[in-house]
């Protein structure tokens, strides 16, 4: 990567990117009810402002053709060998993310103004949302792994707060806790990675680490890669830490759109892309990334096929799509750009889909069961159209964004030109088919067929404040792919970060890949039509189904495994330890005390009160004393 310049001009102010939303959050939280009336507007404004700023910064960056800018802020922790500076690194990679976060973020803020209009706690909602944006920006803009870690847990907190936004619902509270805990598991990996960096290289800044990582032993680098991967899995809901993401849908839908689809969950991909210099050096770690990506891709897709909860289907689709991205970045230099491109595209269409789902729920009194939808296209035209475009983009309909980005990944996989390449490519293609299946199923159950609404439900289109962002995102979903791959190639933009993209000799011609993928996709659509579209959708899910379906409905038993492997033993262990502590450790002490008491009363018996026994005692004592003295002199 090219050497960093001192930040000047606007880049010097890039810390405002974080400061603005943070300030917004602070005002809203501390201001209390006073800010109820205009709070949401402030929240939206701050994010919009940082979007503009991000845009300007990016332009300046483009002006200095992508030479990264380092923004020194202050000394965070400096003691002994350790010296952590709080600083920002504004380079093409972080610029892309900053734009995505602030851009999609602003749109979703706008949407939420409408969506949360009737919620008494709307102010709190926007405060948390701003907090999230700030933390997320810190995550992507920080210039050291510590800064990243701070943002990393910061978004965790925001996600916790937002999932539990309707905390009176036990389900929401539990989901939030689950999300935080499983993220913490990942965080441990990230933390340990940082410790290793300090222990081995004495620094935690990107520049320092990436500069010296070459000097490390292979094993150490692999360890680093795996530890970072653990962190990434936690945050991005990848196997084996994927179970929290679908539950996270308990949060308000805009949250699902912003945090659990567009931005936060892609942080894992950012981490791996950012740590490219490390992964470039460790084949093993990359292989694990690939495996996890492929596996998660399938798990998500399969589970997505079985759920009836519209948001859960989208959630599993997210899991699956991020699997694609992991697969991409796991491929190394060939895949980084493809992965990030997919990430951006996914940011658009998945956010759009969630907003659409939100609009549907809005219309159906927060009903999420697709078996209770149907025939909505007539009632919700705008939602239908925007959602439909997002749908097409996701399943990779030719020349929409998903088509370009997903194919790029599959090509990159095949370009490995070894058996693994074929396997991964195969998995990716299969995944595309499944994606087409479950998304079509979703479309059919929601918008087509007979209306299966509960009585008293009168669907109505959402207000424009909600539909407008959906439209924007729909446009994005349509164009993003083409834009990023051909018109304004991301590869060129990211060149300062990942270096010159070497033109790999294609094993299979892109055109062929495109055709195959499209074919499989159509197959999936057809299957969905055969299974769902043709028949009447029962209002309640059929009970007697094939074991495969049952497994899929239980997300391949991920929760069951977690429970029986960790939760139950943990609870049992805790109960056991409590017993040990009270009976054992404390009991030992009390036992000792009791022993003293007992021996006291027993010894006390010797104090019979009879003069003669006392005299005997004295005589005995005298004999002992004499004996002792003689013994000492004798021995």
């Amino acid at each position: 990567m090219s050497e960093t310049l001192p930040a000047d001009g606007l880049l010097g102010w890039s810390w405002l990117l974080i400061a603005l939303p943070l300030a917004g959050a602070a005002v809203l939280l501390l201001g209390g009810r006073r800010t109820d009336r205009w709070g949401h507007l402030l929240g939206t404004a701050t994010v919009a402002a940082s979007f503009v700023l991000a845009l300007l910064c990016t332009i300046q960056l483009a002006g200095q053709d992508g030479a990264p800018a380092d923004v020194e802020l202050f000394t965070f922790i400096s003691t002994g060998e350790l010296d952590v500076r709080a600083g920002l690194l504004f380079d093409p990679l972080s610029a892309v993310f900053a734009l995505l976060i602030t851009g999609v973020g602003s749109l979703i803020h706008v949407y939420s103004v409408g969506y949360m209009a009737h919620d008494p706690a709307r102010r709190r909602f926007f405060a948390y949302l701003n907090l999230f944006v700030a933390a997320m920006l810190l995550l992507v803009l920080g210039n050291s792994f510590v800064a990243l870690y701070v943002g990393w847990e910061g978004v965790g907190l925001a996600s916790y707060l937002l999932i539990a936004f309707w905390y009176t619902r036990p389900a929401a509270a539990t989901a939030a806790k689950k999300a935080f805990i499983m993220n913490r598991v990942g965080d441990v990996g990230l933390a340990l990675a940082i410790f290793v960096m300090f222990a081995q290289l004495g620094t935690t800044s990107y520049a320092g680490v990436f500069g010296a990582v070459g000097t490390l032993a292979g094993g150490t680098v692999t360890a680093l890669g795996l530890l970072l991967l653990l962190g990434a899995c936690g945050k991005s809901g990848q196997f084996p830490l994927q179970a929290w993401l679908p539950d996270a849908m308990e949060g308000p839908t805009p949250v699902s759109a912003l945090i659990h689809a567009a931005t936060m969950v892609t942080a894992g991909v950012y981490l791996i892309a950012r740590s490219a210099p490390i992964y470039d050096l460790t084949e093993t770690a990359r292989a694990v990334v690939l495996a996890i990506g492929a596996l998660t891709l399938l798990i998500g897709a399969i589970a997505g096929c079985a759920y009836d909860d519209i948001k859960k289907v989208l959630a599993y689709s997210t899991v699956s799509q991020i699997g694609y991205m992991f697969l991409a970045v796991g491929l190394g230099p060939a895949g980084y750009v493809a992965g990030l491109a997919h990430l951006l595209a996914h940011g658009f269409f998945k956010a759009g889909l969630f907003l659409g789902a939100g609009s549907v729920m809005h219309a159906m009194n927060d009903q999420v069961d697709m078996r209770r939808f149907g025939g909505l296209w007539r009632k919700l035209p705008v939602t239908f159209v925007t959602f439909g475009l997002g749908y097409l983009a996701l399943i990779g309909f030719p020349f929409l964004s998903g088509y370009f980005t997903k194919d790029a990944i599959i090509e990159a996989a095949l370009d490995r030109d070894d058996v693994w390449g074929w396997v991964l490519g195969g998995v990716a293609v299969l995944g595309a088919g499944l994606t087409a299946f479950y998304m079509t199923r979703l479309m059919l159950m929601t918008f087509f067929g007979r209306a299966r609404w509960e009585e008293g439900v009168h669907p109505h289109e959402s207000p424009s404040v909600m539909t407008a962002p959906m439209v924007v995102l729909a446009i994005g979903s349509v164009g993003a792919g083409a834009l990023l791959v051909s018109v304004f190639p991301l590869s060129g933009w990211l060149e300062p970060v990942f270096g010159e993209p070497e033109e790999a000799a294609h094993v299979v011609a892109p055109a062929v890949v495109g055709l195959v993928v499209t074919a499989v996709m159509l197959l999936g659509v057809l299957a969905a039509w055969l299974f769902v579209g043709r028949r009447e959708v029962p209002v309640t899910a059929p009970v007697r189904v094939s074991p495969v379906t049952r497994a899929a409905r239980h997300a391949l038993y991920a929760d069951a495994v977690n429970e029986s492997l960790f939760m139950r033993p943990g609870q049992w262990l805790t109960r056991a330890l409590v017993w040990v502590d009270n009976r054992g450790v404390d009991g030992a002490v009390n036992g000792l005390a009791a022993t003293f008491g007992g021996s006291s009363s027993r010894l006390g018996r010797a104090q019979t009160g009879f003069v003669r026994s006392y005299a005997l005692g004295i005589l005995g004592g005298a004999v002992l004393v004499a004996g002792a003295l003689l013994a000492v002199t004798a021995g």
Partner: protein
């Protein structure tokens, strides 16, 4: 013809003072009109004790052997004499308390009257009060002061009897609970006589082994021809007699019974002064006479100390009567004192002597204070000694509770009280002589001991008042008259002062810590 022994009357002044007062007391007892006798007796006794105290202080720094070698008036002796005299004076003040008991004294008017007889019941309400205790107590003090300065086993024996016999008598003179008091007297007397017989036999054997009972000669003899079985047996029996007086386990059995039965002021007197005297004698015998044979008895004392600490503190745990509890605690403290005794080291140059003397002083003061508080808490028939009756005392009379707490913390050895300074001194002395395992046992024992001191505080402060339910059964806290007030003031002040600024007194003990002869 025979030539009179050289007598340095200045060096004897303290003894002359106290014994003189005792004799005067006897005369007063026999000739002074009964109705105004009490104040006079009190005055005589106090003058004797305080005079002795003052004269010892004036003599401070002297070190000479006088009375033809029978007495060693040296620094240690004088310090201990002063301690005994001072504590004795305080105890006598306790004897003189007349405000607390409706019958105007803690002592029965006429001992001869059998307990529970009609006459006895009359006596409870009669104005006449006991006055024989004063000369008796004075004699006891004299005996103790002689005990710690005697440089001759025979004189020591006589002193032992002079201090014991009056104690036997006055332990039986309680006005309340006379049966217990008499029982205490009988037990104390029989066992005391028994023990002193051992001491005497030891004396005889030592005499046989060395041809003399003069401590210096014994030392010389043991240096000359080493230690033979006869001498060791003699030493053993001497030690038995002394440890009995010091109520060191396993010779402690009399202590709880006598302390509980005897009138509380007497208990205070015994607990404080007798300990001082006994340990003074122990130190003198062990180091002046048998210092050369230190290696023979050191392990023994080591073991006895441990036994005493453990037995004392463990047995005290389950006591329900405060006097009895303090009795056991005194046994434990005897153990702590022995660690100081061991701190003298083979050459007797260690800091143990000063430490032990300081400990004796602070322990005596605190103990007298504690027993003085005991006399304040009363119910229908005399003092309310049962723990349960002390529950919630702090709510009823915060001051008394606070003072008692101070004494208890001192006995437990909490810093900023005299008890801690004393413990630190003796433990330091012991460690300096390499007896750290003993000190380890000691600290653990004092941790155990802390529990029962603490329990009293818990009761006084954290518990609901005794008989709060049925109301009238709760004990009353009497308003002390002048004497007890003075005692409490002095002891409490001393306990605090010697905890916070002990420097000067420690210096004094340090300078005084010399044996001659």
């Amino acid at each position: 013809m025979f030539d009179a022994p050289d007598l340095s009357f200045t060096a004897l002044a303290p003894l002359l003072f106290i014994f003189g007062a005792a004799c005067v007391g006897v005369l007063v007892e026999s000739f002074w009109p009964r109705d105004s006798r009490h104040p006079v007796q009190l005055a005589v006794a106090l003058v004797g004790a305080l005079g002795a105290l003052v004269s010892t202080l004036l003599l401070a720094g002297r070190g000479e052997v006088t009375a033809d070698g029978a007495l060693a008036v040296d620094g240690a002796g004088l310090f201990l004499q002063a301690t005994i005299a001072g504590l004795g004076a305080l105890a006598i003040l306790l004897f003189a308390e007349r405000a607390l008991d409706p019958a105007r004294s803690a002592f029965v008017a006429s001992v001869a009257v059998p307990a529970g007889s009609p006459r006895d019941r009359e006596l409870l309400t009669s104005p006449q009060v006991q006055t024989e205790v004063y000369p008796l107590a004075t004699f006891a003090i004299g005996g103790m002061m002689l005990f710690v300065t005697s440089n001759d086993l025979l004189v020591m024996f006589v002193a032992l009897e002079v201090l014991s016999l009056p104690l036997y008598l006055i332990s039986g003179m309680a006005r309340r609970r006379r049966l217990l008091s008499q029982e205490a007297a009988v037990k104390y007397f029989l066992l005391g006589a028994f023990a002193s017989a051992f001491f005497l036999y030891g004396l005889a054997l030592v005499y046989g082994a060395t041809g003399s009972v003069r401590l210096s000669d014994i030392r010389a003899a043991s240096l000359a021809e080493g230690t033979d079985v006869l001498m060791l047996l003699g030493l053993a029996l001497l030690i038995v007699g002394l440890l009995f007086k010091a109520s060191v386990a396993p010779f402690h059995t009399w202590t709880p019974d006598v302390y509980e039965g005897a009138p509380t002021p007497v208990t205070a007197f015994m607990a404080a002064c007798t300990k001082v005297a006994a340990f003074g004698a122990i130190l003198r015998v062990l180091y002046v006479a048998f210092g050369a044979a230190e290696w023979t008895w050191r392990p023994l004392i080591y073991g006895v100390a441990i036994v005493s600490m453990v037995v004392g503190s463990v047995l005290a745990l389950t006591q329900t009567d405060l006097k009895r509890m303090l009795a056991y605690s005194s046994i434990a403290h005897a153990g702590f004192l022995l660690t100081g005794v061991l701190g003298l080291g083979a050459d007797g140059e260690g800091s143990g002597l000063a430490a032990t003397m300081f400990y004796l002083l602070v322990y005596g003061l605190t103990t007298i204070g504690a027993f003085a508080v005991l006399t304040l808490v009363r119910d229908g028939d005399g003092e309310a000694g049962h723990l349960s009756q002390w529950a919630g005392l702090a709510a009823r009379s915060p001051l008394v509770a606070a003072v008692m707490t101070l004494f208890l913390l001192a006995l437990a050895g909490i810093p900023l009280t005299s008890g801690f300074t004393g413990k630190f001194a003796v433990f330091r002395a012991a460690v300096e002589e390499g007896a750290w395992p003993l000190v380890l046992v000691a600290v653990l024992a004092s941790a155990v001991a802390a529990f029962f001191y603490l329990r009293v505080i818990v009761l006084m402060y954290f518990s609901a008042p005794a008989g709060g339910a049925d109301g009238e059964r709760g004990p009353t806290v009497g308003v002390p008259g002048l004497p007890t007030t003075v005692v409490l003031a002095i002891t409490a002040t001393a306990t605090l002062a010697l905890g916070i600024v002990p420097g000067s007194v420690l210096d004094l003990a340090e300078q005084a810590a010399r044996f001659v002869g």
